[in-house]
Symmetry: C2
Subunit: 386 residues, 2 copies
Amino acid sequence: MLNFSFYNPTKILFGQNQIAKISKEISPEARILLTCGGGSIKHNGVYDQVLAALAGRTVLEFSGIEPNPTYETLMEAVRVVREQRIDFLLAVGGGSVIDGTKFIAAAAPFTGEPWDILAKRAPITQAIPLGTVLTLPATGSEMNSGSVVTRRATQDKLAFMHPLVYPRFSVLDPTVTLTLPPRQVGNGVVDAFTHIMEQYLTYPVNAPVQDRFAEGLLLTLIEEGPKALATPEDVAVRANVMWCATLALNGLIGAGVPGDWATHMIGHEITALHGLDHAQTLAIILPAMMNVKRDRKRAKLLQYAARVWEINSGSEDERIDAAIERTRAFFESLGVRTYLRDYGIGAEAVPALLAQLERHQMTALGEHQDIDLATSRRILEQALAA
Amino acid sequence: MLNFSFYNPTKILFGQNQIAKISKEISPEARILLTCGGGSIKHNGVYDQVLAALAGRTVLEFSGIEPNPTYETLMEAVRVVREQRIDFLLAVGGGSVIDGTKFIAAAAPFTGEPWDILAKRAPITQAIPLGTVLTLPATGSEMNSGSVVTRRATQDKLAFMHPLVYPRFSVLDPTVTLTLPPRQVGNGVVDAFTHIMEQYLTYPVNAPVQDRFAEGLLLTLIEEGPKALATPEDVAVRANVMWCATLALNGLIGAGVPGDWATHMIGHEITALHGLDHAQTLAIILPAMMNVKRDRKRAKLLQYAARVWEINSGSEDERIDAAIERTRAFFESLGVRTYLRDYGIGAEAVPALLAQLERHQMTALGEHQDIDLATSRRILEQALAA
């Protein structure tokens, strides 16, 4: 196992009727800004539950944080925070609302151009405290310190991480996910699954606990993910999916092991140029990545085949092929297509995607930093069609 | 899965040479009290590493915290903390030193009789911040908010938990465990294993992630524990054992599932009256507990047999019998005997143990609160000898 530092102070309030508890987690004197997205929380009862929990408190509202939250929108919220002397941010929504709120939290007290937090890794020394009420299990943002923000003007999609933007608390009530559309449910499972794979499918470092935790999450998503679509009213299934998605990216399974993240980096460029959902890009790139990197990932691919899919017969390459196909079939079973062509994207798109990777200095990706532009080209070409 | 709240803000610094980093985790102005046990840290280099890391800081020392730390000793440290205006406690040792230091942290600012924190669950509102350098993987105290303290005068062994006594940081450097005597290594593995079983071997609540995490830790201890004794110089093995022991009791695998803890409660009385090591009492009671409670624990016993020991043939009771025997053999392979008779304790000891349980109101133990004194008697009688 590699040396590591692990720190995660987010308090999780998990289960039905937990939204009512947020009043105890926020100072009574706080001036609260509730941040949210497009309005689904106003139709499914979550908004009403939050306002009921905060009755008598000072609560302002900032809605309209979009999927792949933009710097332009978030800076409007920063202006509200500054003008209204907000001292607590309550993100109510999915990963985009939470990611966006983390940026607001860091940008509001920042002196200078807040874009530099993303573009120049400008250090931050303070942040407005934030909490979250999660409505969409997928990104894990509810229990980590990371945030991804897009600049609309340039379609740059950049990330920052800082301990100051760990949510103070996150409410995970699986009943609020019952009304999600199937596309978001499927996307969420693919997103969580790929987060696990980015930390698991690298090379062995004698970290059996991390491996087994990762495999345990993968197996649970494989069991429960399709059930969330087939029996959408089953709260117990939603609870298991929700807890998997949080644990997939809260730092635990990645502590002491290498990380890959190349699938995410290439996927980000597809979203930026073609507007695909984040999870769609992961479902497209991951199987191609597994195939192209099969030699350097061989030991973990074989372990994945055996322990996650019970593939134990055939040559090594046959087992790896089978594991890749099972992964692809799993994504497809969730309603997430796995080839660029399925989204109307052809070979003519590849040069522009490679140019974006180059512009963002994504020319040495993966756990060995050996995924150069030529390798990314092979991955994208394999991802075009069956 | 059951509703739960999970919060664990302890920062883990894991790996070789991490002790040097503690200076960054403690305020430069802090008046530090280093707490420790019997002196082993002065022979294995840990003490020197800690003092080197804190060069130039104000560091006082309190040594002599014993295994099963006593209120009497800890109150001497409380006096030092108060007189010397200590504002940071650094526990360097195993679970007893860390548990004791948590009590010191809570007792020093407490107004009134600090024993009430344990005996009357008197609420605490402040605690001296503490950090730890762990030397013995076993109890998990380095990443939880619990503490067990014994009153020498009465042999009462009582516990308290409070979020204020989470360590701010804990250093887990597996190299410092290389010089542990085999008895402490074996005890540590049994202790961690039993912590997992107390949270796993109850009844199913549809919590597949918690089950798989628990099974992953058990499997890893089964693989790595004997190696720690057979190849004591292997740092990678020690690292895996150390991380297992911490994750066994940091709240994660117990979140959202029932807990048993009857084995611990009965074991505590054996330590109190007969002075056995904590882990020895667990190795004695757990197999008998599994046998006596086989009906209400049946579903999880069969899952444990199949997933942890790969026992898949035979009748249900045969599989359960086999799983209990494998558990017992595992403990014995670590050098920890599993019957009271092995420690010279006979049937004549049972009434006094039951009287202690009654005196401590331990008359409705286990996940169903159905382990009354008659059941505890059966467990103790089965634990006498093969």
